[in-house]
């Protein structure tokens, strides 16, 4: 295990220096001579028919070079998984972040001024802002074919019989809120006509393979006429998929029209207004339980607000349906998860991807069950937890090491959970002005895309003639440390120092489509591909070494910058890595190889919701300790323990970075984050109104890394990015329950929720309204 040289080390991030010195270039740092600036004209109604668009006044403004509406899009104006996202609104507006027209002008101010002069005639339509209302029969129809985006099911056993068998039933409704990704860098792109009659796009797209296709299709060009260059990304968290594509493709259309470079940039307000959010869910949970604390049946219904466009809703809700019952045994399950269109901001991928919502419900229910049975939250989880070989709700037999009990026990030990939990639930604590509480949560998570789609990634490793190495991969680094991890993997395989490796920015012309950098698949898939590529290069080198030194290739080792003959008992150095490299080139063997990691072990039956959903799973547990101000309802986070089985930590420091960031994000979801919309109008469009935890609000955190290597991952590595965030909220709300005896069922657990037990914003469903936002 400790025979690794670089794997597992706390290597500093390879991109850290550039970021702290300012040398790293983000999308908006790129500029070109004669470049134009774009601006957008927003929809003025959340739901309306567009009757006419008059751009004449805008065109007259001096300095304006182009004004485009949907009529000017030469190729496809629609895109998406279900292709109904409009690059420029055509027949209708469906949310207030729709863009009706774009302008390019000599500067931003002129462009904006012109955009404000565009006149649009609308016929206002009834709008709907509540997904359940949207699914009702007479609801306003947002897309042809109805408002149901998707309905996923899981059917296992016989729930009616299960409830029959049960000693008691727990039934609760939960609500989760939409939240903003809040990446530091808002979307931006620079697009310019290049010398080959094509266009080059520099931007911060999380899934630039998708962006590539969308942009080429919109411009009406073949893929090889559009080149995407990925700039350094200032965060994404799942957010820079369609949202960043929209910004880039609008710039591309303007660049095509004007023949000049065009910069398109979202301000924070633009970004929050346009971009998609995490889905709000309403969750109905009903469990039939036995006196011994086991669960006989679960019946679950969840409705997700998909907003104006489908985006990733079908996949997000699919993960929800797979994981809706948690990592717990239950023989009888009936789960239905729906997503519906509304006239809110559309919702899509966000770190967690359909799991934070169901985890909040599951882990709250588990604590309720513990309370009813009279055992601790730890004991109830250990009683129901999956073990090796368990069968999930979808009928999948878990063949990897199921470490749920291990992470639970480690989390409880690291936080002194059992003792504190008992102490805090006493009357003596709960009647204090500042009662304390401690809460536990755990979860399992399917790694990578699962049966959602084709799961493959590729990478290219190139050992240059001087022995320095470049790595290109289709997996991108949006701040999570992918470059460092992949460089470590390659360095390990080739036995050279990390500093010798240079990670190239992804470029659509260089690496085959690797799918999206999502679903915590960067390391397991992208890292896996990099490992294969490096091994392929090493094979070439081994064959050359075998010839040059007359040794068996099977005995060759690559360590410490040298090539070794590890023949039986003794080890002797044959030459340096550079010498072997030179020898290879001298024999006409260029050291260039690609690697493809492809996993196809998943299957799914849409009707029954049975199948092998994911090729492997990860397990984690969180403990939050809080202090509640009973006078104000304010909750202070004191301590947080986050335990994750990551398979293998390629780099402990980046794993901890993911865990700390995940806690801050997940606890923020639990306690204060909320994207507030009123009749489709975003109210929280900058960080003075949209609350995220600040450094002052983040608790003391302890990250505990558990390693049970998995055959699917490079060196056994699985994932941590999303697990780190997905179970923090219920740990916090369970802690609040421990402190106060009151259960938070609606996120976030902000002061009104904790103090008054309800949200002050209207909870009543409002009838569909026709509403007018005062146009400026």
């Amino acid at each position: 295990m400790s025979s690794f040289n670089i794997i597992g080390k706390r290597e500093p991030r390879v991109d850290a220096l550039g970021k702290v010195t300012g040398a790293a270039k983000y999308a908006d740092d790129y500029n070109l001579p004669h470049q134009l600036h774009g601006a957008v004209k927003y929809a003025e109604y959340p739901h309306a028919e567009i009757l006419s668009i008059d751009t004449s006044e805008a065109e007259k403004v001096p300095g304006v070079e182009a004004v485009l509406t949907y009529k000017d899009v030469p190729g496809a104006n629609h895109f998406g998984l279900i292709p109904n996202i409009r690059i420029l609104a055509d027949d209708h507006t469906r949310y207030l972040g729709d863009v009706v027209a774009v302008v390019a002008a000599v500067d931003r101010r002129t462009a904006q001024k012109a955009a404000d002069l565009i006149k649009v005639k609308y016929r206002e339509l009834l709008a709907v802002f509540d997904p359940e209302e949207a699914l009702e029969e007479n609801a306003p129809v947002i897309h042809e074919g109805g408002n149901e985006i998707v309905h996923h099911k899981v059917r296992k056993g016989d729930v009616a019989a299960g409830f029959e068998e049960a000693d008691f039933i727990i039934e609760k409704t939960f609500k989760t809120q939409p939240i903003e990704h809040a990446y530091l860098e808002p979307e931006a792109a620079l697009v310019y006509p290049d010398e080959h009659d094509g266009f080059t796009v520099i931007g911060c797209m999380q899934n630039f393979y998708t962006s590539h296709k969308v942009i080429a299709a919109a411009l009406g060009l073949p893929l090889n006429k559009v080149q995407i260059i990925q700039s350094t990304m200032g965060g994404s968290f799942g957010g820079k998929d369609e949202a960043a594509t929209l910004v880039a493709v609008r710039a591309a259309l303007l660049a095509q029209k004007t023949g000049r470079p065009v910069k398109m940039l979202s301000t924070r307000e633009d970004s929050i207004r346009q971009s998609y959010k995490r889905h709000a869910y309403k969750l109905y949970y009903k469990w039939g339980c036995k006196k011994d604390g086991t669960i006989a049946a679960m019946e679950i219904k969840a409705v997700a607000d998909g907003g104006a466009y489908a985006s990733m809703s079908p996949f997000v809700t699919w993960r929800s349906v797979v994981q809706a019952t948690g990592p717990y045994y239950c023989p009888n399950v009936k789960t239905d998860v729906y997503a519906a269109y509304t006239n809110n901001n559309f919702t899509g991928a966000m770190r967690g991807f359909g799991s934070p919502q169901v985890n909040f419900a599951i882990e709250s229910m588990m604590d309720e069950l513990a309370e009813r049975v009279g055992v601790s939250p730890l004991q109830i989880r250990l009683r129901n937890a999956f073990e090796d070989g368990a069968e999930t709700a979808t009928g999948q037999k878990l063949t990897h090491r199921v470490s749920l009990k291990e992470v639970l026990i480690k989390a409880a030990e690291a936080s002194d959970f059992e003792r504190k939990w008992r102490e805090y639930r006493s009357e003596a604590n709960r009647t204090k002005t500042f009662p304390k509480g401690i809460g536990l949560s755990c979860a399992y998570r399917g790694v990578s895309l699962g049966a959602e789609g084709v799961d493959a990634a590729s990478a290219v490793v190139y050992v240059q003639p001087d022995g320095s190495v470049t790595v290109s991969a289709g997996i991108i680094d949006m701040g999570q440390g992918a470059r460092t991890v992949m460089a470590q993997i390659v360095a390990e395989v080739l036995g050279i120092p990390l500093q010798r490796i240079h990670f190239l920015e992804p470029d659509s012309g260089r690496v085959a489509d690797s799918g999206p950098t999502v679903a915590s698949r960067g390391t397991i898939m992208g890292g896996g591909a990099a490992k294969i590529a490096a091994e392929n290069v090493r094979e070439i080198m081994k064959h050359t070494a075998a010839v040059v030194y007359s040794v068996s290739p099977a005995h060759l080792g690559f360590r410490d910058g040298k090539v070794w003959d590890d023949n039986g008992k003794s080890s002797r150095p044959l030459c340096t890595f550079e010498e072997l490299t030179a020898a290879c080139y001298a024999r006409g063997k260029p050291l260039f190889a690609s690697g493809v990691r492809h996993v196809a072990e998943t299957n799914w039956d849409e009707e029954t919701g049975q199948g092998n959903a994911y090729f492997t799973f990860v397990y984690g547990a969180n403990v939050a300790e809080v202090q509640v101000d009973s006078a104000t309802g304010q909750t202070e986070l004191l301590n947080f323990v986050s335990v994750h089985d990551v398979g293998r930590a390629i780099n402990k420091a980046t794993v901890e970075g993911q865990i700390y960031g995940g806690v801050a994000m997940g606890a923020g979801y639990g306690m204060m984050e909320e994207f507030i919309q009123e009749n489709g109008e975003a109210k929280t469009i900058n960080f003075d109104e949209y609350y995220i935890l600040t450094a002052m609000d983040v608790p003391k955190m302890k990250a505990v890394i558990v390693e049970n290597p998995d055959e699917h991952g490079p060196f056994g590595a699985k994932s941590v990015g999303e697990p780190a965030v997905e179970m923090a909220a219920p740990a916090v709300t369970n802690a609040i329950y421990n402190a106060t005896g009151r259960r938070v069922q609606n996120l976030p657990a902000n002061l009104e929720e904790v103090r008054l037990g309800q949200k002050l914003r209207r909870n009543v469903q409002r009838a569909s309204v026709a509403c007018k936002i005062e146009p400026k």
Partner: protein, 322 residues
Amino acid sequence: MNQQFEYINPQSLDEAVKLAGQGSVYAGGTDLLGLMKNDIAHPQRLVNLKALPELKAVERQKGKGLRLGALVTLNELAENEMLQKDFPAISQAAGSAASPQLRNVGTLGGNLCQRPRCWYFRGDFDCLRKGGATCFAMDGENKYHCVVGGDGCYIVHPSDMAVALLALEAKLEIYGPGGQRLLPISHFYVLPEDDPTVETVLQPGEIITSVIVPEQPVGSRSVFVKFRERSAWDFAVVSVAAALQVQNGAISGGKIALGGVAPVPWLDKKLNNTLAGTALDENGINKIAASALTDAEPLEQNGYKVILARNMIKGVLQSLAG
């Protein structure tokens, strides 16, 4: 920010006053730039005060009390040891405003004159305060709006400094085309019923030059507490400033001011009438807290502020008693 403006560095106060008549005074710019960017303020001219050293002093003269220049930054107020010791409410209020970066540039004068944070006001809504016909908050999202003193417009005044200074019964020195005037801070702010489009009585060209805080009687204690939803970068949901004299376990004089509850920093009459003579024991504290905001008329979503304010008053009195 769609328009051109002129930026001027006057060399004297008189010049500044003359120029400011047709423009906006510019101190740290932390509020003004946001207003311009959001298309709420459209000054033709920005008159920068930062070159005027006479506005930057912190002085304390025997008998005359404390004089704080309008250009003193919030950070300077927060870190001043004399204030921390003798006027803790001032340094606490300054230290709890905004974020370190904003406190390094934001000034006392600018803080007192900042415009409200109502999200309709800051957004694209032509509301009453911007000269329009209606208030959108009245029936809209009004969780952060006022529970008392609203009439047509339901903002809360966002300044933390004003609340502390109100409890300390500070006065503002104002210099303008008509010369100098001295105004108690309790007369500085304007209720919507008098004029819903402005927050202060400042006339065009008038500049706050300094804030005068009277020396507090012996045995006085002051404190400022602020309730907010996150621990940095955030305005008060409710704030309480108290400057009280305590003798033999009972309050003998002083004031409590409230922030976040009204369109202006708020001196609740009944609350303040209950103070003098009341013992700082559990009964007395409960009595005082219960007398606060009895005339509140919460909107649909902000009734919690009344409970919150009373609980915070209790906390403040307990800390002064202890």
